[in-house]
Point group: C2
Chain length 244, copies 2
DNA sequence: ACCTGAACACCGTTCAAGT
DNA sequence: ACCTGAACACCGTTCAAGT
């Protein structure tokens, strides 16, 4: 809506700056929402902003820069409100579910996040700061917190991909005869999922998709609960060991 | 080396088929090894095989098809030898480490794997069959096995991305002042990593990078051990519960 | 059936020229 | 400083023509 119909601009510096990081981020998000990441091209982005494609390069160095802008914006939507307010495991649950849900629709960003330094992503660092505070409160030793966060994040990113997978991804087709055990396991899983449509019981998905427990949700729940209990157990050692 | 210098071929069907899935896979792997995934283009692939780019489309429907070919080939390199021969947790460890190590250098494939059906990936299904057998042997109920595999796989894929990240990815730069807790945790982690170069103690990385415990290795170890112990604990319930 | 060669509809990015 | 417009060096894919 910004520059829908606008008097054609001549070359040369405009009286006031037309573009900015906030405008670019907003326009990119709109494009992604409409057509997915295949719709996010520098041309389409420029068109939506009412400028020539080359004008974008006065504000970003590359398309990867645009993706970083979007990523950092999304990080502000990850729910860290549990840290400092709830028990550690409950706060981690809330954080992990919202983190996965945000990036499930933005999996093309994961390549970028996992590789780019956080130096130019202030919202991202703010998110990490809140998580770190929560871990310190729960008694985690400083030097192990980053490993724990990275481990949880790796699980979350991988699980975000899983959300986008089709339900029949494990259909073995003609390979079923040669692989009976796996095929049977796949079958019994899908039966279970279709049988219990709304099994909202113990491990909840706080502030996330309330009902419709899909396959990816049940796998995420199983892994997250295992990670949480396993990480907690690694905190209080049963016997004194030489430091690792 | 296949068609390095070859007499120029005229149009029309050649006397014997020049291409095939095996040739294409091999050539693609060579290109990836040399120049990474940015070097894997249909043009480069065709050049290496001594044909015109359009000739490839007689054997694959798209570039995604080529990636599936490569993925399935790599799956044969994942070590499932522990299942049926070792205790469950040891077999999972061996499998998980080799799985991560294989795909750490092939992260662009993860988008494909996570979304494409396994119907046309026989090696992949064979891998899953071996893993399923190992879980059944360990007493896992059939209908929960796929969730457990998916959870482990999600962690593995996410961790594969982490391997490719630069060591200084968490450097907060000018943001350090506003985020002291996170910055301190990052600092103490890197000190620990540089201090203990070869801390090969308890949780081993069977058949993987023997020494040089990098940051990504320590995070992977922490998460994997937590997942294994957490999943094991979820197997034998302390008290009887209504089925979930 | 399986190849060549030309063409199509795109990409991201650069750069001189303009104000 | 910040825009336009043209150009560059690519992509993946299609298709008629050939044997």
């Amino acid at each position: 809506m910004v520059a829908a119909q606008q008097a054609k601009r001549r070359a040369g510096r405009p009286p006031s700056a037309v573009l900015g990081p906030a405008h670019i981020t907003k326009a990119a998000l709109k494009l992604i929402e409409q057509d997915g990441y295949k719709g996010l091209t520098m041309s389409a982005l420029a068109r939506r902003l009412g400028v020539a494609p080359s004008a974008l390069y006065n504000h970003v160095a590359s398309k990867a820069d645009v993706l970083l802008l979007v990523e950092d914006h999304l990080m502000a939507g990850v729910d860290v409100s549990g840290f400092g307010a709830e028990p550690w495991d409950e706060a981690v649950r809330r954080w992990a579910w919202s983190y996965r849900n945000v990036f499930a629709r933005h999996t093309p960003l994961i390549n970028v996040i996992a590789v780019l330094p956080v130096t130019n992503a202030p919202q991202t660092v703010t998110m990490y700061e809140a998580v770190t505070a929560g871990f310190l409160d729960a008694g985690w030793p400083q030097e192990r917190i980053i490993d724990a966060i990275v481990a949880l994040e790796s699980f979350i990113f991988g699980s975000a991909f899983d959300v986008t997978a089709p339900e029949d991804i494990f259909d073995t087709g003609t390979l079923a005869a040669d692989n009976p055990l796996f095929s049977a396991a796949v079958r019994s899983r899908s039966i279970r999922n279709s049988a219990s449509p709304g099994s909202g019981s113990a491990a909840g998905s706080s502030s996330s998709s309330s009902s419709s427990s899909s396959s990816s949700d049940s796998a995420f729940r199983l892994g997250l609960e295992a990670l949480i209990s396993g990480l907690r157990a690694s905190l209080d050692p049963v016997e004194a060991k030489p430091a690792v």
